[in-house]
Assembly symmetry: C2
Homo-oligomer: 381 residues x 2
């Protein structure tokens, strides 16, 4: 087991009717910026609950943080924060709204431009405190430090790290009206988050292995229920809790991490505008296949414990495990091939060019270079 | 799934050589009381590492917090804190040292006597901040709010709740020289902690079920390695991490909890002086058997997922699951019957009398009264 330091101070407030608790959790003496996405919270009753809870608070609304939040939009919110003396932020919506808010919170306390802050973490100079009401289970942003920010002008998409949300409120009922495609992508995103922290080497941390497998087993069990009936409270609660636990550091203690699938997926989103979770399920089977030698023992363990694959040679078991994984993604109604998404050779060539130019080395062993990225993409056409 | 609020701010610093980090984590401007147990840390090199890290800090040592920490001893440390203006506490040792320190930290900031504070939580008036170097994996105290305190005069043993440790440093190498009986009890304690949060109803939180089962599966796998070679770093690290994760709230989100086994076990310790973990493995099979109707579905799930029991009628599967659980405890070298420990009818009668007098109702459904406690104890003679 590797040495590690773990700390996650976020207060997780989970369950039916918990948005009303907002009034107890927010600071009464601070000016608050409430950030929103495109307006779906006005249709599902969340906005009304938030406004009711905010009675008596000094707050401003900021609307329009889009999927794959764009720095161009976030700069406007930073201007509001600086001009109005905002002291606390509350993100209401999905992972994109919260991710964007994490950058707003940090960019509001420094001179540097928001995108410079994304490109150069050494410019980080603290943050306004922030919290969330998370309505789309997927990114785990509600209980981690991470955010992913896009730049429209340059067509780039990068990670940014702030501190943890002070609190996050998750009411599974807010997910009842989500578009089924978003739910499918959220299930897929959670699945792949866990795989990035799990599918490396064996015997490093048996407990973390069990917990990672536990999240995936839970997703596999609950996905058909979620797909069959998005009003099934317990199923949606299980999906929602899994999304949070999949990327809050809980399954990452003392283990190496991969993240190659995400790095490649981000480029597909940046260049072809494909939804994040959808890109991941296309890429992951390719990474598993191309890295089968290095990851083979763990793939076999995964196949055995999650898919019940116990027969055949090692290579056959790896093949069967990749097949079962891809079948699960297809059972969510997602595409698993680039061609199905209209992503062609030109996009792939540009992705390979970018990795070559940057000299990036991906994966737990930092050995996935642009040539292996190309193999992964070819395998997924 | 039940509504819940989860927050655990403890910074967990885990791994080889991490005690040296103490100098970075402790406040330089505060007077520190360092608490110890009976002196084992002087034999295993921990004391030397702590003293080296504390160079330049303003600190006092307090020695002699015993197993099942006694309020009589803790009062002396409270006097020291009040007299010397102590502002921060560092517990170095096992769960008992840290449990005792949690009470010292709280009793040092109020007028009330320490035992009054245990009996009456409404007297709680905050706490001095405290941290730990945990050297005996068992109680999970390093990452939770709980403590268990004994009173020599009255022969009582009760839980006490403070806030969370600011940080806890866990170096698996500090466990290499633990007495094998303590290790066996630590494994057992962890096992039963998880069962108290798990063995209730089915389908409440599938993810928490998987995580609880994951801790137990990990314990079952690692126990023989730990028993065979206490210098096996990875095995001891896995045991140590499991102990922390078994009782830090991570497997308890949105699920009911039992704790009947602990409540009965505490009485056996209080009256007969039997080590905590040892009392639990005696009691648990009895609770499983006596509560087999209420807990049956979960016992069957547990038997299937952890022990691989898939054949037979429901009752046969429950019997086989209880048998496998007891066999695991015996494989740790622990007794599983009261008679083996010299605990006789008189002690059992006194325990039953206490529960009858107090009118306590135990278990997740608050329906285990003194009559059922008597059945459990009879079953375990």
């Amino acid at each position: 087991m590797n040495n590690f330091v773990f700390q996650n101070p976020t207060k997780l407030i989970f369950g039916k009717g918990q948005i009303a608790r907002l009034a107890k959790e927010l600071p009464r003496d601070k000016k608050i910026l409430v950030t929103f996405g495109g307006g779906s919270v006005k249709k599902n009753g969340v906005y009304e609950q938030v406004v009711a809870a905010l009675e008596g608070f000094d707050y401003i609304e900021f609307w329009g943080i889009e999927p794959n939040p764009k720095v161009e939009t976030l700069r406007k919110a930073v201007d509001v924060c600086k001009r109005e003396g905002v002291e606390f932020l509350l993100a209401v919506g999905g992972g994109s709204t919260l991710d964007g808010t994490k950058l707003i919170a940090a960019a509001s306390v420094v001179e540097a431009d928001a995108w410079e802050l994304v490109l150069n973490p050494s410019l980080y100079g603290g943050t306004l405190p922030f919290a969330s009401i998370m309505t789309l289970p997927a990114t785990g942003s509600e209980m981690n430090r991470g955010a992913v920010i896009s730049n429209l002008t340059t067509g780039e998409k990068y990670s940014f790290y702030n501190t943890y949300p002070v609190f996050s409120i998750l009411d599974p009922e807010t997910t009842f009206s989500l578009p089924p495609f978003q739910v499918a992508c959220g299930l897929a995103d959670t699945f792949v988050h866990v795989m990035e922290q799990y599918l490396t080497i064996t015997d490093c941390s048996p407990l973390m292995d069990r917990w990672a497998e536990g999240v995936v087993q839970t997703l596999v069990e609950v996905a058909p229920k979620v797909r069959a009936n998005q009003q099934d409270y317990d199923a949606m609660a299980t999906y929602m809790l899994s999304a949070t636990m999949g990327l809050n550091g809980f399954v990452a203690m003392g283990v190496p991490q991969d993240w190659a699938t995400h790095m490649i997926g981000h480029e597909i989103t940046a260049l072809a505008g494909i939804t994040h979770g959808q890109t991941l399920v296309v890429v992951l089977p390719g990474v598993m296949d191309v890295m089968r030698e290095q990851k083979g023992d763990k793939i076999v363990q995964f196949g055995q414990r999650v898919w019940g694959i116990t027969e055949g040679t090692k290579d056959e078991r790896i093949d069967a495990t990749i097949r079962s994984t891809e079948e699960f993604f297809r059972s969510l109604g997602l595409a698993t091939r680039l061609s199905e998404l209209g992503v062609g050779e030109d996009v792939c060539a540009e992705i390979v060019r970018r990795f070559r130019e940057r000299g990036t080395l991906l994966g737990e062993a930092s050995n996935i270079d642009y040539r292996l990225v190309e193999q992964v993409l070819r395998q997924r056409m």
